[in-house]
């Protein structure tokens, strides 16, 4: 499967490559499953991924040079991954385009005789480090990124994202500190705490903002997802055994320290996530891993005008039918792009999408998994949805946009004095969200401070930075 396999006709440099039956963007669980299934149906597949190794964030693992004895030790479902990886490597029909960032997708024409899709990708800094991938159909499996809710002190060294802490641990086997508070909201917190403890860190507390009462409303859904319950229970039991305390309905409302975080203040929250006055307690630590769940990464599809839905947690996801079709003909989506729901769901949706692309009937097992897990995902999203008053802990001095160093004061002034009513206008008036991360970090916070919900994401003609020299080169086709 490596790129070299297709080198003679491969889509390198300025030449037009072959036209694939399916281009899969993203090599996490959904993309891997889709590429594998599609290849088994005889489709020629391009697996285009920004990462250097297969697996995405979920199956992130150390580089071989690190010589990890058991790279799967930190993973659930590692065997599933190694099986997919082996099959893909052996398939003559799959080209893995590693390190390729797709900056724009051009929709193809209808039918087999129509113009193919074109994915424009950059894979290095040079003028020639660009590729146009042509395909009959495209599957968007670009996953999700973390939701960050700012609080005073969140920019201190030692404060890391929960997902980032886990990613660094998985890829480099490095811990962000020795005594690590894990905080935020969502099922990832328990998994992260488990990983950190397994790797030798002390975790004095896991601070979960949700009360978990939300789950009680969905007992039938829980009963239908015993594996999910067992997974949560296993994390919980393991943590308890090691003396890790779970504080529910609480949040880190401030991180303290000068050069580095040395302690955090944890406060109780009311049902709207407003900190309860006088409830603050200080916990000493040398690192804080914080995360508030995930947000689908769907810029490429939004730019194409694909229909979206807003989940119970306010996150915007792609709207798909039972066979993972988006509203744009020829564009499929699977996994977190359709709403955050975890790896098993992503694997099932990848398989379903590949069946649909290949014109095969949907397999019953994956269809059932999808139904069950989607219901669970909705329950989870509702339970961990940020309460409407979380901005109560955002002081005027709190930096909201880290890239452009915009404090909450400026965002509030733009709304109250200048007439900004949404995140886009706040961005225009304050530069919040205009920096390197393009609002992926501060987007939800700016939206909330602007008084609006997440709304429809901003359209982005370029979904990631591109070297100007690559845009300036004449197009090959």
């Amino acid at each position: 499967m490596p790129t070299s396999k297709s080198e003679p006709t491969g889509p390198a440099g300025g030449r037009a490559g072959p036209c694939y039956d399916l281009a899969v963007i993203g090599a996490g669980p959904a993309g891997l499953a889709a590429a594998d299934t599609a290849a088994r149906f005889g489709l020629r597949v391009a697996l285009v991924d920004a990462g250097s190794r297969l697996g995405g964030q979920y199956y992130r693992h150390p580089a071989p040079e690190l010589g990890a004895a058991r790279p799967g030790r930190l993973h659930h479902g590692w065997a599933v991954f190694t099986r997919l990886r082996a099959r893909l490597a052996a398939s003559p029909l799959v080209d893995h385009l590693a390190g390729h960032h797709v900056w724009a997708a051009e929709a193809g024409g209808p039918g087999d005789g129509g113009r193919p899709w074109r994915l424009h990708a950059t894979h290095g800094p040079g003028a020639a480090d660009r590729t146009t991938v042509r395909a009959r159909a495209v599957l968007l499996a670009t996953g999700a990124h973390e939701r960050h809710l700012p609080f005073p002190g969140w920019t201190l060294p030692g404060v890391v994202s929960a997902g980032g802490a886990q990613a660094v641990l998985k890829s480099s086997l490095v811990l962000p500190g020795r005594r690590i508070v894990v905080a935020g909201s969502g099922p990832l917190l328990l998994a992260v705490a488990s990983s950190l403890v397994s790797a030798g860190a002390e975790v004095p507390a896991v601070v979960e903002a949700a009360s978990y009462l939300g789950y009680a409303r969905g007992l039938p859904v829980l009963a239908g997802n015993p594996a999910k319950l067992a997974e949560g229970a296993a994390h919980g039991a393991g943590l308890l055994r090691r003396g890790v305390r779970l504080r529910r309905g609480s949040a880190v409302v401030e991180a303290h320290g000068t050069d580095r975080v040395t302690a955090v203040t944890v406060a109780r929250l009311d049902s709207r996530w407003r900190p309860v006055p006088g409830s603050g307690r200080r916990i000493a630590c040398d690192a804080l891993a914080i995360g508030h769940g995930l947000v689908p990464q769907i810029e490429l599809a939004v730019e194409l005008g694909a229909g979206t839905v807003t989940g119970p947690d306010g996150a915007v996801a792609l709207e798909v039918d039972a066979e993972q079709r988006t509203s744009v003909p020829g564009l499929w989506a699977a996994g977190e792009t359709c709403g955050v729901g975890g790896a098993d769901l992503a694997l099932a949706e990848g398989v379903l999408a590949a069946h649909a692309v290949a014109g095969r009937p949907a397999p019953a097992r994956e269809a059932a998994t999808r139904r069950r897990r989607r219901a669970f995902a909705a329950l989870m999203a509702a339970a961990h949805a940020p309460g409407p008053d979380w901005t109560g802990w955002v002081t005027d001095d709190t930096e909201v946009c880290r890239c452009e160093e915009v404090p909450a004061r400026e965002v509030r002034a733009a709304v109250e004095e200048l007439g900004a009513g949404d995140a886009r206008t706040v961005k225009l008036l304050t530069r919040a969200g205009m920096g390197w991360c393009q609002g992926r970090m501060c987007g939800p916070a700016v939206a909330r401070l602007s008084g609006g919900g997440a709304g429809r994401p901003d359209s982005r003609p370029l979904s990631c930075p591109v070297p100007l020299a690559q845009l300036a080169e004449p197009r090959p086709d």
Binding site: A104, E106, A107, R118, H120, A127, E303, G305, E404, A414, E417, L418, G419, A420, G421, D422, R424, T425, L428, L429, R431, M434, W436, Q438, S459, R460, P461, L462, P465, V466, P467, L468, A469, L471, A472, E473, P474, R475
Partner: protein, 388 residues
């Protein structure tokens, strides 16, 4: 419907033109309301570069308007200054080949006769003005009156300074009509806002608002893309563009036309724009457009080849078939005024437009010939051309 405080004037549109109308109306002592279905600067204004240009305009009514506006912007800068990122940086127009010099000389001579400052720049002086400009360019002109503002900030601060009541996020659904069909206010989803005068500053939707009053105003969208680089040290000092830009603005062709207007910003990123296409409100990205912008920018400033384009944005300019805006009282509908169709020059032309509308509203002598901008001038074109 709810009764609200009666106003002297309701401005529809919270872009930079609507904000300027509100600003000058309020300064003329009128009680003003501004209504917009979105936030401030939510349309074309928020997608603009903030060009305050006289350099790209041939002698004629638009240049006269631009010269008046350039003076007004200097006055406004004294009031708003850094808050709207006003920079009197000047424009540098370069010829890309020797054959382009003669038309440039002729164009500049005519502009100077009309009151524009245009200073010839010899080939060997170009890099003194712009050290990173490509070698071998044959020459150009410096236009000291060209300037820059950050358009969203400009609209927001003009609107705030106007003291007008803001009805943002409130879509206009109809016009109130009085005896003889006179417009007497607007109806919105939240109620009625009564006023003896309504100003149509609705930008690309100006034609639809006019149609609510039964008036024909063929405002059409012209799409543009802008590229934004990563933040850079100040490597581009002026607004720099190739001479072919002038031909593009006045062009009637529907084909893609672009020329790289390259400029730095106080925040660091270099802006490269803007393409001009007539494709309706189609939002589909055509990478060829981005390619042309990037290639032309790199041809002017080779150093840009090594930088990252961080993002791109698109906007739709409101234009009228003769490429002049509609400004002033609508002779067909009492009470209705227009201030729209400024195409890519709305930021630059906003203060003059606002000032003249303000004078008309108060019955003062505009002191400026508004005949070329008459809103009803398209009546006779109706159905004559495919595009209008």
């Amino acid at each position: 419907m709810l009764k609200r405080t009666p106003y002297d004037v309701v401005v529809v549109g919270a872009g930079v033109v609507g904000a300027a109308c509100a600003y000058y109306a309020a300064r003329a002592g009128l009680k003003t309301a501004v209504v917009d279905r979105g936030p401030v600067a939510g349309g074309t204004t928020g997608a603009g570069e903030g060009n305050l240009l006289v350099s790209d305009k041939e002698p004629g009514p638009e240049l006269d308007l631009a010269l008046l506006s350039a003076r007004l912007w200097r006055e406004l800068a004294a009031e708003f200054g850094e808050r709207v990122e006003y920079e009197p940086k000047g424009g540098l127009v370069v010829a890309t080949e020797a054959a382009g010099l003669d038309p440039l000389h002729g164009f500049a001579a005519a502009q100077r006769a009309a009151g524009v400052e245009a200073v010839p720049v010899a080939a060997d002086e170009l890099r003194t003005l712009e050290p990173h400009l490509a070698h071998g360019l044959p020459g150009g002109y410096l236009y000291p009156q060209d300037a820059q503002v950050q358009p969203a900030l400009a609209a927001a601060h003009l609107l705030r300074a106007s003291g007008a009541d803001r009805h943002l996020g409130e879509a206009v659904t109809g016009l109130l009509r009085g005896p003889g069909g006179a417009v007497t206010g607007v109806a919105t989803a939240r109620g009625a806002i009564a006023a003896p005068a309504v100003v149509n500053a609705a930008g690309t939707w100006g034609g639809e608002l006019a149609a609510l009053a039964g008036a024909h105003l063929p405002v059409l969208p012209r799409r543009g893309f802008v590229l934004v680089t990563e933040p850079l040290p100040r490597i581009v000092r002026h607004k720099v563009y190739a001479a072919d830009y002038v031909a593009d603005v006045a062009s009637g062709s529907a084909d893609l036309q672009s020329s790289a207007v390259v400029e730095g910003t106080p925040a660091g990123p270099v802006l490269i724009g803007a393409s001009r296409e007539r494709v309706g409100f189609d939002r589909t990205l055509d990478p060829r457009v981005l390619h042309r912008l990037a290639a032309q920018a790199a041809a002017l400033f080779p150093v840009l080849r090594t930088v990252q384009v961080q993002r791109s944005y698109r906007g739709f300019r409101p234009y009228l078939p003769d490429h002049l805006p509609a400004i002033g009282r609508d002779a067909r509908v009492p009470g209705l005024y227009h201030a729209c169709g400024h195409e890519g020059a709305g930021i630059g032309l906003a203060p003059a437009t606002g000032l003249l509308i303000g004078r008309q509203l108060t019955g003062a002598d505009p002191g400026f010939d508004l005949a070329p901008f008459r809103p009803e001038r398209f009546e006779r074109f109706e159905g004559a051309e495919g595009e209008s």
